[in-house]
């Protein structure tokens, strides 16, 4: 009898611990959102997960997105990448290096106070497609450009 009760209590304790852990997890997620950093997207290791976690579904290939990057970059530690979106009401531009350990490199929330243009420099581990994802009017548009890397820049 005693043994049975102990088993029951242990099981109940286990559930309780799990519940607390879940609650703590939820709190952390809430904080991550509050500080404006999409943790789940930035920590995605697969390209498909990264795209899903920035909310990008039904991607539409668009010629109105121009990715300016070198065809061949000698140094993967510094790859200049600029993205221009001519799509009206561009709300955000995300840049992904498809074969990096964490593909999502940056996400820019664009307001009406600026043009749909961002320029930065990325690290790329190896030759890969640089993908731009543009959110405009609730839809997601995309374009890619391959950049060949001579020396990787993730080490």
């Amino acid at each position: 009898m005693d043994g049975l009760r102990r088993t029951f209590l242990r099981a109940a304790g286990g559930t309780l611990t799990l519940a607390i852990a879940t609650a703590a997890g939820l709190v952390r997620t809430g904080l991550a959102r509050a500080d404006g950093w999409n943790q789940s997207a930035f920590e995605s290791k697969a390209l498909a997960d990264a795209l899903k976690n920035i909310g990008a579904a039904n991607l539409i290939e668009s010629k109105d997105i121009v990715i300016t990057a070198p065809d061949i970059a000698e140094n993967g530690a510094v790859v200049p990448v600029a993205v221009t979106s001519k799509i009206p009401d561009t709300q955000s531009i995300s840049i992904l290096a498809e074969k990096n350990p964490f593909p999502l490199a940056a996400s820019f929330d664009i307001t009406s106070g600026m043009e749909g243009y961002v320029s930065t420099r990325l690290k790329m581990g190896q030759t890969a497609n640089v993908r731009a994802v543009v959110k405009a009017g609730g839809k997601f548009y995309t374009a890619v450009k391959e950049v060949k890397i001579t020396i990787g820049g993730c080490g």
Partner: protein
């Protein structure tokens, strides 16, 4: 204390061409030092650009942005003398804010 940024804002028509250079190691957490120990991850997570006190860009970055990050944007409806301020926050909670004024084209 983090090093100051270099910000340049030049007017082209009614658009300010803003170029920002931040000084930050942007460690990926994957690099090893001379002793073979992993250098802890340390990178800028958020960058906010304001034009006369109004947010124009809110960016989220990963450790894949290069060391000493560069950011270039075009701010619409700008005039010479307007204020452009930039604030970054890194994963250790360190932050830095710098400001410049839009220069007339030379």
């Amino acid at each position: 204390m983090a090093e100051p940024m270099k910000i340049r804002a030049t007017l082209k028509g009614d658009v300010a061409d803003v170029r920002i250079l931040m000084l930050h190691p942007m460690e990926t957490g994957q690099r090893k030092d001379a002793k073979g120990e992993i250098v802890p991850v340390h990178f800028i997570k958020n960058v906010v650009v304001m034009h006369n006190g109004k947010i124009v860009l809110d960016a989220q970055w990963s450790q894949a942005i290069s060391r000493n990050p560069f950011l270039g944007i075009h701010v619409k409806g700008a005039k010479a003398g307007d204020k452009i301020s930039v604030k970054w926050t890194d994963n250790k909670g360190e932050t830095r804010t710098d400001e410049t004024t839009v220069a007339a084209p030379s």
